[in-house]
């Protein structure tokens, strides 16, 4: 695994405009960064990332199956009791999942270590599935990269095929896509997934989360008063569970993507649970619930993570790495978990995180994020990669 500088494609910003990639630069800072790329060997990809990704996903499904049948654990995961039936029913029905992203610390040597599972609302999928694919294609076409350069990125192909499966399981319904207002990044992500769904032959509509309505019977509606029967939402389940319309969840006939059972995996309580069920697994870091910290007595440094948090908010270090500045944010009221510190590898001045994508239960590609700080956040730069 190497970080290799490369010339930017001349006029790539224009190409971004052509393909509707509008958030490559945000708030005056570079988000998409093609001044360098990462190079992997096929063995590093297949042995160290692809196969652990699929294995961990299966372990995570084991956690869901255990938690869903246990009221004490459902409470530990801070899931509101009023939604338990809704969550359980979606698991018992086998409601299909579209995608997830596992975040790993990996340096090219040794075992990739799982940081967390973005199982409910993973973003940066357009940059991964399409834009870095195009970057490689352009550089090969221009003779800058060798023709046999490859990339671990079957994401778009698998997304389209998965939408076809889900379409077959959900016949004759229009798929509504939704995200919040005022975030171009989320709107772009949702547009990309809508394009993939259309490619798979699904009819689609779009509605902002804030504009969703309800009729007298409790059906959810879009701004054209059409009843929603099938919805992709880029909005966390744990937010929806607390909101006014949550009383209708489970009482109106909707197929959700991601399904409600994903709220167990996008939850940081997953990490101590995995460690309990699969202790000493080479891809896991020791992790503990707050009231079980005595079990962590032999560990010098811990990372404190909120049960619910997004985009690296509210993370702090305890012990040897205390010097690292904590990240701020609006999360943490539901409590915290603790994970053994395992710093991200450094390439030059940058800390590097690997996102490993799953479509349903299959590993589908990777994305790479870089930051000057050891905590990766939503403004961390996105860099492409190749396999040679």
């Amino acid at each position: 695994m190497l970080r290799i500088p490369i010339a930017e494609r001349p006029g790539w910003q224009k190409r971004a405009q052509e393909f509707g990639f509008e958030f490559h630069t945000m708030y005056g800072e570079k988000y998409w960064d093609e001044s360098a790329y990462y190079q992997f060997s096929l063995e590093q990809i297949e042995r160290d990332i692809e196969s652990p990704t699929e294995e961990i996903h299966q372990m995570c499904l084991g956690v869901v199956d255990k938690v869903i049948n246990d009221d004490v654990l459902m409470r530990r995961f801070c899931l509101p009791e009023a939604q338990w039936d809704f969550i359980r029913q979606s698991w018992l029905n086998g409601d299909p999942s579209l995608y997830s992203r596992l975040d790993f610390a990996y340096s090219g040597k040794g075992h990739a270590k799982l940081y967390e599972n973005n199982a409910d609302t993973p973003t940066s999928i357009y940059e991964t599935g399409f834009w870095q694919w195009l970057w490689l294609q352009d550089n090969v076409d221009a003779g800058v990269l060798l023709p046999h350069s490859d990339q671990f990125n079957i994401l778009q192909e698998k997304l389209v095929n998965r939408f076809k499966d889900i379409r077959y399981l959900t016949p004759d319904r229009v798929l509504h896509f939704a995200c919040c207002k005022g975030t171009p990044e989320d709107r772009g992500t949702v547009q990309y997934l809508e394009d993939c769904a259309n490619e798979a032959g699904l009819s689609t509509e779009f509605v902002y989360i804030e504009d969703i309505g309800r009729d007298a019977k409790g059906n959810f509606t879009d701004t054209k008063d059409q009843i929603i029967r099938f919805m992709f939402k880029l909005y966390p389940w744990e937010f929806m569970f607390q909101e006014e319309f949550s009383a209708q969840l489970g009482h109106n006939n909707i197929r959700w993507i991601e399904p409600p059972w994903k709220s167990i995996l996008s939850n940081k309580a997953l990490l101590p649970m995995l460690w309990k069920m699969f202790p000493d697994h080479p891809n896991l870091l020791p992790a503990f619930f707050e009231d079980e910290l005595h079990l962590a007595s032999g560990i010098d440094s811990l990372v404190k993570k909120p049960i619910f948090s997004r985009e690296g908010s509210n993370i702090s270090f305890i012990g040897d790495e205390k010097g690292v500045e904590a990240s701020s944010g609006p999360y943490g009221e539901e409590g915290f978990i603790y994970q053994a510190t395992h710093m991200l590898p450094k390439f030059g001045d940058s800390y590097t995180l690997i996102g490993s994508w799953l479509v349903d239960d299959q590993a589908a590609g990777i994305s790479i994020r870089e930051d000057r700080n050891p905590i990766t956040q939503d403004m961390s730069r996105f860099l492409p990669h190749i396999i040679v």
Partner: protein, 200 residues
Amino acid sequence: MKRSKSINLDSMRKVKSASPLMRPLTLAIASVTLAACGSSEEEVQVVSSIEDCKVSTTLTQAQCEVAYQQALQEAERTGPKYSSQAACEAEFGYDQCNRSSQGSFFTPFMAGFLVSNLLDSGRSNRYNPVYRYPKSGSSDRIMTADGRVIGNAGQRSYKVDKSNLQSKPTVTRTVSRGGFGSVASAKSSWGGGKKSSWGG
């Protein structure tokens, strides 16, 4: 190969190429052929009655009767709904609306329904209703139940997106909005007003 074998760049393009005429002719022809191949459009006819359906399409009398009944049911379920006769007529014209069989709504009369010109069975096409939407100073437009205009009235055939041949969502009356999004809005004061993603 560990990546997607091919991606249709034309379908991913959000801004259409500025001057397609500048491209070499052979390339232009090739791309037209390709576009037709993976096209999401389909040619349809608008028929106004069972009789019209029998005469102008390849469907049989029996098939046309089934199609007409299905279009009526779809109109009931998915068509525009108004709370008064006057509100409906303001959009669709005098004497163009009646009370729906459900009682509480007023809906415009169905002007006809869509029949695909493609002879491929095995697909579960719907026979969706269309409406005449008057436009002052020119011919009426033909509109689907969800308000998409497919062309002017009186054409022999129309090019429509395939989604118009699939089932449309049921239309209802919304009694309240804004029941989702409050947690994001409460948390969004973080980051100095910078609106960041709610994903991760």
